[in-house]
Symmetry: C2
Subunit: 303 residues, 2 copies
Amino acid sequence: MKESNDISLFIPRLTIVGVGLIGGSLARALKERNLVGEVVGVNRTRDSLTKALELGVIDHWTTSAAQGVRGATMVLVATPVLTIPRIVEDFAQALEPGCVVTDAGSVKGTVVAPCEALMPKGAFFVGGHPIAGTEHSGVEASFATLYEGSRTILTPTEQTDPGALEQVRRMWEAVGSRVETMDVLTHDRVLGATSHLPHLIAYNVVNTLSDLEDDIRAEVFRYAAGGFRDFTRIASSDPAMWRDICLSNREAILDILTRFREALEVLTQRVRDGDRDGLYGAFARSKRTRDGIILAHKKADQG
Amino acid sequence: MKESNDISLFIPRLTIVGVGLIGGSLARALKERNLVGEVVGVNRTRDSLTKALELGVIDHWTTSAAQGVRGATMVLVATPVLTIPRIVEDFAQALEPGCVVTDAGSVKGTVVAPCEALMPKGAFFVGGHPIAGTEHSGVEASFATLYEGSRTILTPTEQTDPGALEQVRRMWEAVGSRVETMDVLTHDRVLGATSHLPHLIAYNVVNTLSDLEDDIRAEVFRYAAGGFRDFTRIASSDPAMWRDICLSNREAILDILTRFREALEVLTQRVRDGDRDGLYGAFARSKRTRDGIILAHKKADQG
């Protein structure tokens, strides 16, 4: 056992603003490990809060964020990414000295700078992104093992307090996540390429097939099985979340979409030209790259 | 037990041209069920044939297709789709009266009409496409249960002999496949949309990420996990097979790629404009469609 880890990790009072899958699962995981004193839940509506209380995910609740953060030593904001700065503004002046505020937004560029600027003297903001989730949402879908084996990216800036960063890191590590740090811009570009691009493409494939003429569409949907099912699984994600991601990470998404569309132009031209060598080369390169990524991850997981 | 099915299904002599995953698995499955007398294997090279003989997948072999089909009552051509008409031309004049020839090509437009035209009097061609496979290839990868729960599409024309069609149907059904018929053009459009488009898009996503600048690419590949892994699994498929599919199904692929690119233009414009309602509408529609497809398939599988 590492010395004094337990003491440094204990969170006397954690406030979760947005008690859903992400926030609820963190509360459950910390409670299961006795790493938290009290958990206060804040939502706009009562229904999900009374449900969370019944489930034992939270100990108290309020619909006022400013009331909810009183006495908190740690605050997690786990609401749709566009709403985060406004919510932090609502409660910032009520924070007590020493409190650490972090978030779980999928985009950091629209979150970190405004939230840092809102912190009163003695309170600290650390941008965070636990990369975890399921196809389900809401506190009923939360569970204590969601973060085991996951990754969390924290995005410290020059203003970030090192002690606050360390507390947030330990919190996510304690529930089983591997934590890495990245600057805000890199985070948004990396997630734009590995998560936002595939989601937009999968949505677009499904909508392309929906737009086919009636007769062929019926046949297409009857045969849309197997590989297609895996390929489009991510097109079943929450539309509001993905709308907010597109609005928040506009620049990085437009950049990677432009690159994708240019590469697709080239590939389409190769199909049009019946370019045997060009097609083979493109597919062989992609297979090599993809096999290499998977192998590297296998090694990393084992190491 | 259905009356006389066993008798009508028995294939005294089956010749498989191209003894790999697809042809080898059919031979194994028929042998396991005692539905075939002798299996003759034909490949261009000896190595895979002696391997297939050792494994008990075939009983005889030759590198000459014309010799291999002598005395055959059923011939399956399971070679890359572009080679099929040339191979059928090599052996057509050696076919004996009553022989049924079928194929396993992923595209039917470049296969069916030429092969039908090559049949001598008394021999019959039926276009087929067993939709099955794994990421591995070669006779060593073949196994008797590959077709259980799969689908096979047969593409009869006005010229197709009803008795020959019935024999091919029973052969695939006997090894566990659900058989449906479709006209050639519909087959190629449906597969273009549900299989060829997703493969090309997955290849293109992987290559787009490979083309990123060095610093960001390294980070991108480190984070390319989870959903990305599922999404790009199909980009690890055989490059030669996909080159041939692009060359053979050029028109249908260009048509669906054009539709995809047009839809992507609209989506990109919505991201550029920060169009909240447009983005939400597009994602919500896709989620509805995709959830509907999965539900319909679950019902079909249970029914």
